[in-house]
């Protein structure tokens, strides 16, 4: 995270084991959470 602007990046790996479809994705830290939508595709 860049201190002055707060600009941030996170890298994650799409999990195995969930059926394909649209999922709410929660990014959580100690202060709160942010939501986004993510679609898991068929392998």
């Amino acid at each position: 995270m860049e201190s002055t602007s707060g600009d941030s990046k996170i890298l994650f790996v799409v999990p195995k084991g969930l059926p394909p479809g649209l999922y709410p994705l929660n990014l959580v830290n100690s202060v709160g959470e942010a939501l986004a939508d993510f679609t898991i595709l068929s392998p």
Binding site: M1, E2, S3, T4, S5, G6, D7, S8, K9, I10, L11, F12, V13, V14, P15, K16, G17, L18, Y23, P24, L25, N26, L27, V28, N29, S30, V31, G32, E33, A34, L35, A36, D37, F38, T39, I40, L41, S42, P43
Partner: protein, 138 residues
């Protein structure tokens, strides 16, 4: 008003940045803050001070505060007898914000980058919400 310029009879300062989350460095810029290391706090939480000079103090919030706007208090050690200086509503603690994903879809084991603001310097969690036997899980 968030941030601003705070003065007392013998010391003045401003804060950069004026909003953020836990972990990253904050810099108090001013003058007559004294050359001996004193204390700085955001709300009730003391900053971990890494550098204290007469015209700047660098420190970081090692503890997560709840989302809110907090006072900043500087307690210089000198000149002798100086009172604490408090800037009211000086620093806003912000929750994470997602701006974009490198892709809004992906196959299992693909890597996706989330870009945004205020993720913090400690590793958080990325959770998928799903329903199992009628119960929502993360």
């Amino acid at each position: 008003m968030l941030g601003g310029f705070c003065t007392s009879e013998s010391a003045q300062f401003l804060l950069d940045p004026e909003e953020g989350t836990f972990g990253p460095e904050l810099e108090v810029v001013g003058f007559d803050l004294g050359s001996k290391k004193g204390q700085v706090s955001v709300g009730e939480v003391a900053l971990k001070v890494s550098e204290w000079l007469a015209d700047s103090i660098v420190g970081s919030l090692g503890e997560a505060l709840a989302e809110d706007v907090y006072d900043l208090t500087v307690i210089p050690k000198e000149p002798r007898g100086i009172l604490p200086i408090t800037g009211q509503e000086f620093f806003a603690v912000k929750p994470p914000e997602v701006v974009s994903l490198s892709s809004s879809s992906g196959k299992p084991l693909e890597e996706i980058t989330i870009s945004g603001r205020f993720f913090g310097s400690k590793k958080g969690k990325v959770l998928f919400e799903y329903e199992s036997k009628g119960i929502m899980k993360l």
